[in-house]
Symmetry: C2
Subunit: 616 residues, 2 copies
């Protein structure tokens, strides 16, 4: 049993504020031990949370949550925040069914100012909260805590472009942990910091640069590094008073692991009476050797061994890996294939592709909108772009898929990972809407493999034998693959059985249906959709003879394939019996994927029972 | 009959290149006359096209379209481009059924590099094209022409953040026509231009500022104006070598009405072999007095009188105006009501609100994503935000409605203007997908008024008597309002008739249905949905007794209310006859709204015929 003598006395931000400053460093150590111990058992986001321990404590010591609203961008860095706002005792339930969410959730605690899970929203939210406070003469603050990764999302700029105009009590904290920034640029940033701390703040960069020209030894290298910086964000940070001219008071860079310094800066920002921008430098994975060395590997983790840092399950046989291997294989033979990811190279299985074909691999940052339209541009000039993206994040690019890809009839492939129930990440990440929103878009084709062989065959079909926008959707992780498909690239597979009932499904749960049917003495006829959209005339024609259809589907009911199929059959005058078992039209909270499938009657036992009822 | 002696000899970019430079000014004059003459008769975008005459000619004289790809952002400024690429003779068909599109359309001409209609996509597209060219060793250029308004959309930043990294033949032309920029800042920009034109380009702004400090009379005012600039874009432009450090060679500011200067700069940019950014200053409405004075009023216009500049129809009774008046009335009594627009204050009818309640009015720029999440932030602290947005542009914020508004259960109102077929703007602007994509989002409520009285009553209901995200959708323009609703805020209205058939509809086409039914000797029972989503248990229960249902709906079939209704009834064991007349799952080209409704059998005559068939 682990013991945390100081942490165990912290049950609210008030306890934290009452703590003598001398005990804060020890508390940080305890929190890091606590995080490593727990996340190694539950899985979750580790590196980002280890990097924000001091930042979180400083925020809660200076501000008065929940009267002051702390909005965590994405939210996967909010574990320390959860631990010190009364949720320490429940931390072993993290990301479990009915347990703590891995993201901020107002229903869980009033200290969680806003529900979040997707990136780049925090400035918009905090600006909205601060504006409401302003209109109601409420003097409290709204604080957005946003990482540099989230700044690659366009929404952050849209919000900045607006928020600075206000006179609100709004503070934007940039948590900068970009490992790629060189020491030199970091040195320049620290140098800038000393300038900015002066009372007679030097407004013009000209003088900064003049000083650099006269700085012996490092000056030239700093300038060189400065000039080679390549991202919008780096430019904004290291060049001049950008944020000030947008209306923000600028503070920083601040050492994100120095609580005293952080508190001082936050206190000053709080007193201003107008928007402030605080730039904080942190180290991702801080305090855990393996995570500091490989922060990407410890971004979102499954359970792992604390001593070695090794994960205790293999992800080699996940759908993502199979997809990545197959696409790399195709790209070796076809120089027109390009792979695109929005900051999810590892998660989508594209590491191999990236290392072998770097000129045709594009990581665009957390910028799904740009990713799709960029792909459409590539496609318009004869390339074969494949955008690998989680189902939940593709939601960001609905308009681009419709307006820039489908409307032009461009041929590109959306490889939709984490389709269906994703489990631990909960309601913000469920991939259960893509079938609904994609089928509203004219000309889409959607495939849904449920085995490795099908994923490979259908990917090839999506790339080479499909027009317009082709999507191929597959679940998170891996499956044992009970059903070995006899024709992995067929659009539909029909398995004989009693003609009194046709049971239909697609994707991973077809495996469950197959198992359920195999337990019956007289199994029903089965239909597996590999291409779930559009429904072919031929298929519809053949179904018009079925007296009774039962459809199992892992998607929300509204806009589901089962709804479209019913409408299409009725349009043809079909008058049989039709039943559909789908997910409800609801936000579905966290839990294991299998547990959730069971809850919604989409596993073999429930299916077997339902089949028996229908067959009698 | 108008006569254009030079223009009539220009049938391709080659003709334009062969024209002596001395005749270009006269040609520009002819093109402006041509534009004013034609747009006054067809309607369309005028001010932006008058501003880009010289820019377009210079681009086509320097670059070799279609081998070089010119991508117009949004695309409503491409009229001159269309006129000189062989479409002059068809220009009187602009925005008419089977006529020229008001936007670039590759199927219309190979010179239209990409189909477009929504904002802020051009850099992503042009970067994609240039990357494809690069990978194929094709030396041609991709050129994005983007206005400063489009730069308020986050996608533009996502793309910039990526495109500058490349070594592609990519040119971004910023067409800057912001009328709000003062003469001072403009003067500074011109001053900067002279510096940048020097062979020994002065890299550091420090020196610029030093020069300013020594510029007599205007130096101080220029610096002051510089420091008061408030938008991200103005900052990027007037401060330093931002674009250069992102990887672009920077040229400008260039006088956008001086063809010679434009050609020189484009020639230099073309020779570079790496991405270039060209900043061009233009005057919106250039050359037509009324449009120069009121560029906003001449942005997108209906037909107007050339002599007076007055439109020949009144928009006073449009749904937009009725919405704006009612919301202003509610806001006078309730200080929590806020109105938000994404750069469409006039189009959405919010001018009155803005003038009366400026502290609660927010124009966020072309930033629909931010708009929704900002609204959710406001709502989370007790405000009542109403975001007025065109249906087609709400597509940009699908994820934000789902993830930031609905998932949190925030109460806010989406006032969805231009819902349904929009007519002249064509396939990029049809508002026929929102029903499909919004109904995939759990917890949505959607209202669809079809008269002024209903719009007012249902808006009030959406604001005060609905939980979660409430949408109210209404068409473009106005309608005569045949059907005077007896209970404008009821969720459903059922009108008695023969029980053999129940005819269902909502929105403006219910007026058509009502008229059609009135012509029958024995009209069917009618059901009008005012609240189209969700379908109440009570309603579903009452429909289970109908032997036959016929649904008319102005939306694409997939994801339509008629699909959801069928599924819900079948789920309850209903086995009646069900027919739905909807729009096809397709992109629907331009034409008058009534003409299109007729084509898809959604006007009274076709409905009457269908009702008669079903009743016999």
């Amino acid at each position: 049993m682990e013991h945390y003598p100081i942490l165990e006395r912290i049950n609210s931000p008030a306890d934290l504020r009452a703590l003598p400053a001398g005990q804060l460093d020890a508390l940080c150590g305890e929190i890091r031990s606590f995080l490593i111990h727990h996340v190694s058992r539950t899985g979750g986001h580790l590196a980002s949370n280890l990097g924000t321990v001091e930042l979180t404590l400083a925020l809660h010591r200076v501000f008065d949550s929940p009267a002051d609203s702390i909005v965590w961008d994405v939210g996967h860095q909010s574990y320390t925040h959860k631990i010190i706002t009364g949720r320490r005792d429940r931390f072993d339930t993290l990301r479990q069914e009915n347990g703590l969410s891995g993201f901020p959730k107002p229903s869980e605690s009033p200290h969680d100012a806003f529900a979040v899970g997707h990136s780049s929203t925090s400035i918009s939210v905090a600006y909205g909260i601060s504006q409401a406070n302003h209109l109601k003469n409420n003097p409290h603050h709204a604080i957005a805590v946003i990482g540099d990764g989230a700044f690659t999302g366009g929404m952050a700029y849209e919000a900045l472009n607006n928020a600075g105009r206000s006179r609100n009590n709004l503070i934007i904290v940039l948590n900068h942990n970009d490992m790629s920034i060189s020491r030199n640029v970091g040195a320049f940033a620290r140098y800038l910091s000393t300038i900015r701390a002066q009372p007679a703040y030097l407004r013009f960069k000209g003088r900064v640069e003049k000083v650099l020209d006269h700085t012996p030894l490092v000056g030239g290298r700093i300038k060189e590094a400065l000039l080679s910086s390549k991202s919008v964000l780096k430019y904004l940070l290291y060049h001049s008073t950008f944020f000030e001219e947008l209306g923000f008071a600028f503070f920083g860079p601040v050492d994100g692991h120095n609580i005293e310094e952080l508190e001082l800066v936050f206190q000053r920002a709080r007193e201003l009476g107008r928007p402030a921008f605080v730039y904080v430098e942190t180290v991702k994975g801080k305090g855990y050797e393996f995570a500091e060395k490989k922060p990407q590997a410890f971004h979102g983790v499954s359970r792992f061994d604390v001593e070695t840092g090794n994960p205790d399950i293999s992800v080699e046989d996940s759908y993502s890996m199979i997809f990545g291997r197959k696409l790399t294989e195709l790209a070796a033979k076809d120089r027109s294939i390009c792979a695109i990811t929005a900051a999810m190279k590892m998660g989508t299985g594209l590491s191999l592709f990236a290392s072998q074909f770097c000129s045709r691999f594009f990581d665009v940052g957390i910028a799904e909108q740009h990713a799709v339209t960029f792909a459409a541009g590539l496609a318009s000039r004869g390339m074969l772009p494949v955008f690998a993206v989680y189902s939940t994040f593709l939601q960001r690019a609905y308009d681009q898929v419709l307006h820039d890809a489908a409307l032009s009839g461009r041929h590109l492939v959306l490889a939709i990972d984490r389709a269906g129930l994703v489990g631990d990440d909960g309601e913000t990440h469920q991939g259960i809407y893509d079938v609904g929103f994609l089928t509203t878009i004219p000309g889409m084709t959607i495939y849904a493999p449920s085995t490795a062989a099908e994923l490979e065959a259908l990917l090839e079909k999506a790339v080479y034998r499909t027009r317009g926008v082709a999507a191929i959707r597959y679940p998170r992780g891996g499956d044992p693959g009970l059903f070995v498909s006899p024709a992995p690239d067929a659009d539909t597979i029909r398995l004989p059985g009693s003609p009194t009932l046709l049971a239909v499904s697609y994707g991973r749960i077809f495996q469950e249906l197959s198992l359920a049917a195999s337990r019956l003495e007289t199994p029903p006829e089965l239909l597996k959709l590999n291409r779930i959209w559009p429904l072919s005339e031929e298929l519809l024609e053949s179904l018009c003879h079925c007296p009774s259809i039962l459809f199992f589907e892992e998607a929300v009911a509204s806009g589901s394939i089962s709804e479209h199929l019913l409408a299409a059959l009725v349009r043809r005058g079909w008058r049989g019996r039709y039943q559909a078992v789908t997910l409800p039209d609801a936000f579905i909270p966290q839990g294991s994927a299998n547990g959730l499938l069971e809850r919604y009657h989409l596993r073999a036992d429930a299916m077997e029972q339902r089949l028996r009822e229908e067959m009698t």
